[in-house]
């Protein structure tokens, strides 16, 4: 047997032991996902290559919700996709639980972070419950798969879709699909959650419910990154807000410090007013009209 054979064999053995090793729950405040000097370049058809992300630094720690906000095309979803490992950055790197994404197998990553995509399609008429149960796939053949049924039930209940469990996914409305997809992500039980516009298709009540769920997860020690359009919701629920502007982080900090009329008016190129609710004192963000 040659040296290369042995080393590749050893690497395979290492990969075997690595995937069977289950991730530990991170300590509160421990950074789970970090981007360093992240640059993503998109070569769009005939046009010139565009820097969608330009040396972005970003991190999220266990126990906090970070909202990614910014105008259309600022790079929110691109940043989320890069954090999820969907894009290969031109420069910089993304670390999950202290190691570069390239170190992990897809299965390792699936046990550490869950991703809620923006659109929800399922190719075949699986029931809502079957779709949610797919979130348990990363834990198959580990001791944690004993919890599958209980976790699926809890996730269905948490996303308020228990009554839809036996409906076929393609027959659900947009808002119902979004909530079933959220339940699937919750069922994955990871310590990092990446949610791409989870409130987009939802009515006001369900929007609040989704953010309360995310907050509850953060309270239990999860790190949550959520792309939002509604700045009022971001102000109300996020521990930190990162404002993206043309592929760069324009500001990153607690909502009270970051969400100012001056910054938002510049970033959104529209006058924005930020003030406190006269009764509750909650921070409100509104576009100036008329």
């Amino acid at each position: 047997m040659t040296t290369t054979d042995t080393s590749s064999l050893r690497r395979r053995l290492a990969a075997l032991t690595r995937t069977s090793e289950l991730p530990a729950t991170p300590e509160p405040g421990q950074v789970t996902l970090r981007a360093v000097g992240l640059t993503v370049i998109r070569h769009g058809g005939s046009g010139p290559a565009r820097r969608v992300l330009d040396r972005v630094g970003f991190q999220v720690a266990a126990g906090e919700i970070v909202a990614l906000v910014g105008p259309n095309g600022a790079g929110k979803s691109t940043l989320l996709a890069a954090l999820a490992g969907e894009l290969t950055p031109a420069e910089g790197r993304v670390e999950l639980d202290g190691r570069a994404l390239t170190h992990w197998t897809p299965l390792d990553m699936a046990r550490r972070r869950a991703v809620l995509p923006q659109s929800h399609t399922v190719g075949f008429p699986f029931t809502a419950r079957e779709v949610v149960a797919m979130g348990r796939a990363p834990w198959a053949r580990t001791p944690r798969d004993l919890d599958d049924d209980r976790v699926v039930e809890q996730s269905l209940a948490a996303a308020d879709v228990t009554h839809l469990a036996h409906r076929s996914f393609p027959t659900l409305s947009g808002g119902e699909r979004a909530r079933v997809a959220l339940a699937r992500v919750l069922a994955q039980q990871t310590s990092t959650l990446l949610l791409d516009e989870p409130t987009a298709a939802l009515d006001l009540g369900h929007q609040e419910q989704v953010l309360r769920l995310a907050a509850a997860r953060a309270g239990e020690g999860a790190a949550v990154v959520v792309v939002l359009h509604d700045l009022g919701i971001a102000a109300a629920y996020a521990d930190r807000v990162a404002v993206l502007e043309a592929g760069r982080v324009a500001a990153d900090g607690p909502p009270r410090e970051v969400l100012t009329g001056e910054l938002l008016s510049r970033v959104y190129q529209h006058p924005v007013e930020v003030f406190d609710h006269p009764v509750t004192g909650a921070q409100l963000v509104l576009p100036a009209r008329g």
């Binding site: 897809p106 399609t121 399922v122 699986f126 796939a137 053949r141």
Partner: protein, 363 residues
């Protein structure tokens, strides 16, 4: 890691699970029973008269049990073993291979219209096999025909996969149109092969395009059996991952599926199964389309049940079609591919209309 099966784990169903499971068991039982009955009936039909009891008797005597009647006709026993049994087995294997290939393709494209015949994989395999027959002369071994069919099938599957996908998903219209283009091109190649072929090779190719089990040999059965068993086993091993692929490629990846690896594996499996389904029997269309579709309506879309049950039902359907091909017209052996196309064509049309209506247009 690529697909150690979790076939026996009831993860995806539990509350309504008992009902679904009993339904699954019933479906399997009915399918297997139908397979046995049809196989006996199919073996009994033909110019040399035999009965299903004699068929069973002949089989039992061969395995050393002295039960049941032997065929009364003087050449009954030899007819059964030299002509009919290879044919029955070939029908079972080819049906299972085609239906499994269809279920795999539909799973990997997350699209119910994918089928080896429709998207051109079968014609690609036929071109490969045809080339060997034409250029290899009369002394071609069964294995080399199969190898060429495999090469053609593999190349075509890769081609369809790369051409029909954009941004990680396959649109219905692109997939079907890609199939049209590939079938047209393969048709051209087959026409060319016909043109340059010797009369004997030409007959063989024509017979093939019609699709038939006529002339099944034990050699062919051996080759097809090896391919089909390997293909169906591989398909069953990747079944649970195909479920996740229904969520879309990136969602499947986020759930821990190595999508690239899965895709490569499925492409090879489809080529193996398409080879099994084409090499000795020609192009039999639509089995891979109809069977998984019907099975999905009965037991739901979960691939862990869908794939093995499709294999059994595919065998049943092709066996039934072959019985029809031999008995619908007296003293004539109708081309099998002709029958399946006459039934499958309209079905495909209906499915197309329905998919379009559901998607609110093409998409």
């Amino acid at each position: 890691m690529s697909g150690a099966g979790t076939t026996d784990r009831p993860t995806l169903t539990s509350a309504p699970g008992t009902r679904v499971r009993s339904r699954t068991v019933a479906a399997f039982a009915v399918a297997v029973l139908a397979l046995v009955v049809l196989a006996a009936a199919s073996a009994a039909i033909g110019q040399v008269p035999t009965t299903p009891a004699e068929v069973a008797g002949s089989v039992l005597h061969r395995v050393g049990l002295d039960w049941g009647p032997m065929p009364a006709h003087p050449s009954g026993d030899i007819t059964l073993w030299e002509v009919r049994f290879p044919r029955v087995l070939l029908a079972i294997l080819v049906g299972a291979a085609l239906a499994t290939a269809g279920a795999l393709l539909q799973g990997v494209f997350a699209n119910p219209l994918a089928e080896p015949g429709v998207i051109g994989v079968s014609s690609g395999a036929a071109v490969g096999a045809g080339a060997v027959i034409v250029f290899g002369g009369a002394f071609v071994a069964a294995w080399s025909v199969a190898a060429a069919a495999f090469a053609g099938g593999l190349a075509t599957t890769v081609l369809v996969y790369t051409l029909a996908r954009a941004n990680g998903r396959t649109e219905v219209v692109t997939l079907v149109l890609t199939g049209v283009a590939i079938n047209a091109f393969a048709g051209g190649l087959i026409a060319f092969l016909l043109f340059v072929a010797s009369p004997a090779a030409r007959d063989q190719i024509v017979f093939w395009q019609l699709g038939s089990l006529n002339g099944a040999t034990w050699d062919a059965v051996g080759v097809v059996a090896a391919l089909t068993v390997a293909g169906v086993a591989g398909a069953a091993a990747v079944a649970s991952k195909l479920d996740l692929l229904a969520l879309g490629e990136s969602a499947a990846r986020h759930l821990g599926v190595d999508v690239e690896k899965l895709r490569r594996g499925v492409i090879v499996l489809v080529a193996v199964l398409a080879t099994a389904g084409v090499a000795f029997t020609g192009i039999i269309m639509f089995i891979g389309l109809i069977v998984p579709h019907v099975v999905r309506m009965i037991v739901g879309p979960g691939h862990r049940v869908l794939i093995p049950l499709s294999a059994v039902v595919g065998a049943v359907v092709l066996l039934a079609a072959d019985v029809g091909a031999r008995s619908l017209v007296d003293n004539a052996d109708l081309p099998l591919g002709m029958l399946t196309s006459l039934v499958g064509g309209p079905f495909f049309f209906w499915l197309l209309r329905r998919t379009r209506a559901r998607a609110g247009g093409w998409g």
